[in-house]
Symmetry: C3
Subunit: 472 residues, 3 copies
């Protein structure tokens, strides 16, 4: 390949010659709509500080667990990729070496969305003109490093360049939101929004729980010595988030269970947790109880409740101990929604102040559980295909399996859910293309008229995320 | 859109230019075959009385829970759609208002089979020429109301117009089948057939159970004071159904479990149920036991056993209490067949007098459980994709997932399962198109010859439903 | 059909006119690569003895449970197909009669992979020129019988004709591997390889267990009177298999569970098993424990560990008792990998000497569990779609569901897993076509460049099976 590396304008559109022109037309109508990124993991400090990004490895490779996990599966190690050190192996400190390992492993991304996103980032954003490989690694490194030094590559400038109308960060429930305050003072208050994430506080048998509760109490100005104080502190911090422009909460439980306990039992378990005597079964029951309480508070304060269940964290004990969470060893499990959401939906499913957006990494529930639930309860919206399912064929399967029962109006539209800031345009672009392809097929099969498909495409891209994440 | 609203002749056929002409040819060969509608929920009184239908809202909107649930999910309420009243809200009594709400919500059906069926009903059967919308609602109402008043719109006339060769109703096990007798007297005895549905009698902890058993006893002329009398009454009513032309029974259990109890335990539980002291666990075990007993009776009397498991009824307590069953709050759950059907298939799976047709709303079992089971046991046939899965993409997935293991000969062919009488032609038409598209792909990929595909299409449309529902 | 029966060169390639030429090009590049058949069930004696095959029925019909089960589901019986006798029905002894029944049932294979494989075998290998039917059965029988008598139809000649570079047999753990020794002496030592299959020894409550353990002890020269001797005997036999060229072990458990017991508990259960007092629960726990031990031994001796879980054997008690295992009554169940494989992957998932290849007949786990696991653990590879899923549409779904997370490099490539020797070329050919079609779509959608697709196709066909089954 000595020809210049370019991206094809029709990529990720259906190949069939009847459908592709329709897909092109639908995609063209939404390609340039603003990005509404209502759930993600970009550090708020990037926008608050607006400092230049580091080196190419620190920007593209090290923080992206999609990328590092694939290289690990093929024999690289996290230390060699700069992610951290183990007793046996120190973290690589030379970013050029890390970059070389990434480029040498380029082949392994074939067929994955990481490949699509990286192509987009490398070519469209970082100006790379050659395919990554062992041979081209150094030249690419120099090219990218030069780009990162440019003024127009600061985070706030990229918000404009990426056409991001609003972006939500994910913040611990005990956050004081100082960075968001600085952003508000700088005029970014409507553009960078916090999200309330209380997970560690709701799992009362985690080793860090008592420290985390102390942090919550400090932030809220509440001495958390009882269950009532615990709820009071959570409520106070939710109010702080609301005041700072938050639209939503986010909940990453292993199970979707929302069964409430009676107050006495909840008090008893919380006391046991504070005393350090709680059992795993009690903690599990309490986490379901607290999802119900979070729903009740959402019905009061209007924060949209995002539920991300079904992932077993830290599957490998060694890497998790050495490198911490989110390093590739989180693996999905069977997820149940019909029984699990019944308590919350029975209580708040028709409440005008409540909205839940449910995500899954278990696609088996689309047609069986999530679409039937979202297709009747006004409070429930289906989130975008999440994590391992945020990929072209998986997104298509989501549309095909969920739409026939839930329709489009019960969807959240696209949510990128990423910490890889530069990949946000690529992810939204891919989703727009996949949706255009799906809608084009409906038109080509005369199941939808073209004017309707164009309207739905704009809904999915722009209007539905805005509506789904508007406080209820 | 001021152009006239019409339906495209190629709708729901594959777009790919190689496959579409083949699909057209296959569809054309089965388009006009008679409808064999062997499972459904049209009230038998419609045919017995042959009275005119009511207003457009009562015909199209109010009784169709697919339609009302979608509108509810987008903020309408069941009272505003005329379905019933709550303490807070009286049922809408003006059919024109209900019709307007339906038309205003037309957008929300995009991408759903309801949209396809309604288009077909509105354009082909009701003669509507404009898309529904808030603006066109009144004109459409008048147009439809005029059509309903016509003599050729009486139920029996529609049986002819729809080319329905036979239609089965679903009737409680205690039915005396008077309407069917009237139909037989009028020459419709081979055309409108009863189906024996004993569900409420087999779930001995339902609040209505003792009343229902009393009704069974009265119909059968058996005083149901013991387990043996209970079986005797069921057997007597099955005989009545057989005499009235019934082909099948229908069983809508939460679980597919068919584990028999020993007689002493069954007697003990039935006695407890009569005494009102049965537990939920006993009732659950008894319902599985009774599925086994129903299979044993089918092996004797030849009634085909339809099994519809896996739906949690009345998910929302409020709406279910206010409006009754089947108002949109029935949600599927994980369903298991391999272990569950083992007792029945081990006992009767090779019995020449026994045939079971299994349906699922959990599509995960197609390739894993149902196709392997149907692909070896002569007594088992796979039913059509059911309820939430009776939709173009879901039907295609069924063909793709089940055929490779079960073949076509182990299928029931299409079953419409509807209470929306006017949608029956639309549903059969859609199934014929989807099957034509699937078969056309097999031909285009040279996995089947065209003469074979034409033969299979006729099997799926006409011959297999006849054969599957012929008493064994 | 009086025209000559031929196979279309484009069969099983995508129909869409943009994709098909690409698929043709990719398929053409791998069509003639050697067959690497690293897991299967062809009897080793066929190659050791190199005797002529029997009659057409014994070659094609009787041993193929895919074929006989379909005929049974449509009313044939296993005795009438020559599989065995029951109390009521003696096995058919006339091969021509069996052949006629097969030909008369040809229609029932439409849409199944059996149809594709049989077409290939009949036309390409057996030289048949007419479609099977009741009318053509006798002519076909004579044609095939003549072919079988030819010298070039001996098993070793077919190895060359089929371009099989290497083929693995599956052998009981107590095998003395005499046939493999004979093959090695004849120069086939690198071409026909044994596989270590210890299942009956790891399920200590099977009725045959004590006999099987005695056979193990005899083969290994170890008197198995304790748990330590049991492990010693297994280890000794693994060494024998390694010495004979084995690459892999194979494990067909109902559950994928790999939870180890502590040594004392393992000893206690093994003692109970030897004493005949073991419980089902103990045996179940012990089988998981032994999977862990097998993994530990694999990490020592480098035998690749194949795991084939999730099939409930002998679903029908009558046929299983009369005809033995693998006669069509094995049915998949829900399979869990995330929790189940955690002990083994946590212990050996990064071990340089360990490799596991996981197979499933529950396709629901592809995107949820298997691809995420294989996409991070270096020791894990995903096997090919297995058994009921070794079919065109199922293979396509596997690629679509697993690749986006696992990539191609974490796959085993194709594994035929058959006892139907003559179908091996057909099975590999079909897999190559389906992969070509999938890759062609990625190219047509500009998700992969053509040079990359050609490289991946060769990986999946040839390089990945070699690499996956190279001893670690």
């Amino acid at each position: 390949m000595d020809e210049r590396w370019t991206l094809h304008p029709d990529r990720a559109l259906p190949a069939d010659p009847t459908t592709r022109p329709l897909a092109r037309e639908i995609y063209a109508a939404v390609r340039d709509l603003p990005i509404v990124s209502m759930h993600g993991h970009v550090p708020v400090e990037w926008f608050a500080d607006d400092a230049p990004f580091g080196d190419p490895a620190q920007l593209v490779v090290v923080p992206d667990h999609y990328l590092t996990r694939m290289l690990v599966s093929q024999g690289e190690t996290l230390p060699r990729l700069g992610v951290g050190s183990t007793e046996d192996e120190a973290a690589e400190t030379d970013p050029r070496e890390i970059w070389r390992r990434f480029c040498a492993g380029w082949k392994h991304f074939r067929g994955t969305p990481t490949r699509y996103w990286l192509e987009h980032v490398l070519v469209e954003i970082l100006g790379v003109t050659q395919r990554p490989s062992a041979e081209t690694a150094d030249a690419l490194y120099d090219q990218v490093a030069a780009r990162l030094a440019a003024q127009e590559f600061r985070p706030r400038a990229l918000l404009d360049a990426f056409n991001i109308e609003a972006i939500a960060t994910t913040d611990p429930a005990w956050a004081t939101l100082d960075a968001h305050a600085k952003l508000a003072a700088d005029g970014y208050g409507d553009r960078v929004l916090p999200t309330f994430r209380p997970d560690p506080l709701l799992h009362v048998d985690r080793t860090t729980w008592r420290d985390d509760v102390a942090r919550l109490g400090e932030a809220a100005g509440v001495d958390v010595t009882t269950y009532d104080r615990y709820l009071e502190a959570l409520r106070a911090q939710r109010e702080r988030f609301v005041a700072a422009g938050a639209r939503a909460t986010d909940h990453g439980h292993l199970y979707a269970d929302t069964t409430p306990l009676d107050d006495a039992e909840a008090r008893r378990i919380l006391d046991a947790a504070l005393a350090g005597t709680v059992t795993a079964a009690e903690a599990q029951a309490f986490s379901g109880h607290m999802l119900f309480q979070m729903a009740a508070m959402s019905a009061e304060d209007g924060l949209v409740m995002q539920l991300h269940p079904g992932v077993l964290r830290d599957h490998a004990s060694g890497p998790s101990a050495a490198f911490g969470p989110d390093k590739g060893y989180d693996i999905p499990v069977v997820t149940e929604f019909t029984h699990s959401l019944r308590p919350v939906l029975d209580a708040f499913g028709h409440h005008p102040g409540f909205r839940m957006i449910a995500f899954t990494v278990d696609e088996d529930v689309y047609s069986r559980e999530l679409a039937p639930l979202a297709g009747v309860y006004p409070a429930l919206r289906l989130g975008a295909p999440w994590w391992f399912l945020d990929a072209p064929d998986a997104m298509r399967r989501f549309r095909e399996a969920a739409t026939e029962t839930a329709g489009f109006s019960n969807m959240s539209g696209f949510v990128d859910d990423t910490r890889a800031f530069c990949s946000i345009p690529a992810r939204h672009d891919l989703a727009r293309r996949v949706d255009a392809g799906y809608l084009a097929r409906l038109v080509a099969e005369h199941r939808l008229d073209l004017d309707e498909a164009l309207d739905v495409a704009a809904d999915l891209t722009y209007r539905l995320p805005q509506a789904a994440y508007a406080r209820a």
